[in-house]
Symmetry: C2
Subunit: 408 residues, 2 copies
């Protein structure tokens, strides 16, 4: 039903707008990003959809079908110097599904709306587009938002794009059967396990912490071991204790990571007086997240009881895990089983996606295609054309099957 050449053609065209080596550099509201948004609107209109860009850069393309409607989409901007498919794949899958559904004369009373959520990649904020679409971004948040590295106010960028002053789209849940998003896996689970489709079971909750150690800065030559309060060593001991204790408390797919460690002052011959780590863990189950948080606090307490440094832990953020709709998940699995028998798996999404916010308003599904070598957020990110086309087919067919299914 879908047109493979059209899918690959659109993706390859998008790859040329902001092209960087074999990837793409197209940050939110850059010249290239604004150009691409307008280009998408034109493709949507050509497909017979009523498309527009709103006051925060979101695109919504509506079908005129009166009947059961599915919302589908993703984001179109990229990380800096990143891959060609992250975001774009899900947008073009949604657009192609909308086109194919309209073209299929055998389908009656079903349609697809396409949404393109602005700034999923967080150049200006945290999921501003999808959060705006579910109605949780107020004007004050937009007033405050600035480009994280350049500092340009979001208001200024929106004005330069010509979007300022436009109303913002807000979801009408009564219009939709649900929401489907496709995305590259951004990991190596599919490739490593020899599978070609990932049916997302849920999107992980993602809890982040600053772990701080306070000791006493001193000369590394003249301070005997027994007089030291080495904040760096205290942090190393704690992170090692986390490594020892977490496996028994974690679920099979839980992940935890220390992304950054800094010792202050961080000089060769000075005992660090302060040390800090950025630490996080992710799971689809809140009970697991809470268990790990409790364990982290216990380990800090034990470390402080042992001394000689003062450790503390501060939660920086905590997102709720998002459940995927069970009926949709079954539909994706059924279609995948038809196309590639035995070569799909159910898996959590370890990365955050717009779908986790839309899931607060609609039954939601997500589907992954393999990332070659698991590479993501890098210009070498890639997926084979065969997998891209297979993914488009399973995505579109699943949406149609879900639209045709009677509610239980």
């Amino acid at each position: 039903m879908i047109n493979p050449e059209r899918v690959l053609g659109d993706l390859k065209y998008l790859r040329t707008i902001g092209g960087f080596k074999t990837g793409v550099h197209r940050p939110t509201l850059s010249k290239e990003d604004i150009f691409v948004r307008q280009w998408l609107v034109e493709q949507m209109r050509e497909a017979g959809l009523d498309a527009a860009i709103d006051g925060i850069g979101n695109i919504l393309a509506r079908t005129d079908v009166a009947g059961r409607i599915m919302l589908a989409g993703s984001h179109i901007e990229t990380q800096n110097h990143a891959g060609w498919l992250d975001g774009a794949l899900g947008v073009i899958y949604a657009l192609e599904t909308a086109r194919a559904v309209r073209e299929d004369r055998s389908l009656h009373g079903v349609g697809v709306d396409v949404a393109v959520f602005c700034d999923e990649e967080g150049h200006f904020g945290s999921f501003l587009g999808s959060r705006s679409f579910i109605g949780v971004v107020d004007e004050a948040e937009i007033d405050r938002a600035k480009h994280v590295s350049i500092g340009t106010p979001l208001r200024e960028a929106l004005a330069a794009a010509g979007y300022a002053g436009r109303p913002r789209f807000v979801i009408d849940p009564s219009r939709y059967v649900g929401f489907f998003e496709a995305h590259i896996e951004q990991g190596a689970v599919l490739e490593t396990s020899g599978n070609r489709i990932g049916v997302v079971s849920g999107i992980v909750g993602f809890w982040q912490y600053r772990i701080m150690a306070e000791g006493e800065q001193n000369h590394a030559g003249t301070t005997p071991m027994e007089l030291r309060r080495d904040a760096g060593l205290a942090l190393v001991r704690l992170l090692n204790a986390v490594d020892v204790r977490f496996p028994a408390l974690a679920a099979p797919r839980t992940v935890w990571t220390t992304g950054k460690i800094s010792l202050d002052p961080g000089a060769r011959s000075i005992i660090p007086g302060r040390a800090e780590a950025l630490f996080q863990f992710r799971d689809t189950d809140v009970a697991v997240l809470e268990r790990l948080e409790n364990a982290l606090h216990e380990l800090v307490k034990e470390a402080n009881a042992a001394g000689p440094c003062a450790l503390s832990v501060m939660r920086v953020s905590a997102s709720e895990p998002a459940r995927m709709d069970e009926r949709f998940t079954k539909v994706l699995a059924k279609v995948a089983q038809q196309e590639v028998p035995g070569r799909f798996i159910h898996m959590p999404s370890g990365a955050a996606h717009d779908a986790q916010f839309i899931a607060q308003k609609l039954p939601t599904a997500m589907m992954f295609v393999p990332s070659i070598k698991g590479i993501s957020h890098h210009w070498t990110e890639d997926t084979s054309e065969e997998d891209i086309v297979l993914g488009a087919k399973i995505f579109a067919n699943s949406i149609v099957l879900a639209l045709k299914a009677r509610r239980p």
Copy 2:
């Protein structure tokens, strides 16, 4: 025999040249440093010594006594925004000893030369003054030397000071009975233990390493624990293993320190692909240093056998420990015991000093006075006037006793 007012007066005067808060900012060959060197030469000449500044900024002041001569001294420049006594104390003790010995009509056939070694604090290089004095700095090293932060070539700074083209002093070991240096402790051992004098048993050897871990950079959400090669975690485990294994291998006064840890790329949600630590240990016994180095290599080997990352360790530098002369050490202990019975200790110097280079040519001794709260290399560094005067007395009396002593 020494004149306490003269000692305190000179130190308080020096404190005003480059004064910063209650400390001093007088980097090597700064305007203030050059002024102070000339001032010292004048004080030395007033004391009847034949004093001059050489082609690398070293000052040597020679007595005209024909007899047993002791060399004494330290350095005069400071770290940036650092303390008033680090270096200056040892210089003024030496100058005062030379003066007092000349003034004492009861002393015959003994004298003291005073040396002020340039750039002990390493603004341009590594112990350039004392190493030049023992003949191990060639012209090419001076050609290459640049200010570590500003980049000014040492040649330029020497020319601006008026020292360029002068010959450099080289030690004549046959002239001297030995070398004495006094210094602030730069640690809290004396204060903590309630002692007032540290008789230095040896200057530690100081071995430095880069420990590197190589893993695979990946997304912290989408990469399952079992597929990870987390370089940061590998480094944390190794540093923790060092913390567990080193105590049993170390001598009572061995110290080891991780001064810096960096994870690459060091971002919240990215599994570090590379990690690095700056690590060092110090001891007065080469056998201990070798044992620790072997243990470090063993731990790296064990970590590599366990996987999944590749660890490696590179020795960055290794200085030899310097022994202090036993007869001199006994003299210092004897004089200290007379002045403050039971309130002195034998201790290694954990910091490097000019004395460790002079020790390659002469029997050498070092003596410490307490640092309040152990603070060093900071403008709050301080020592009580009572301790300063006591130290000057013990230093001078020890030199006289050592000069008078018959060789065994």
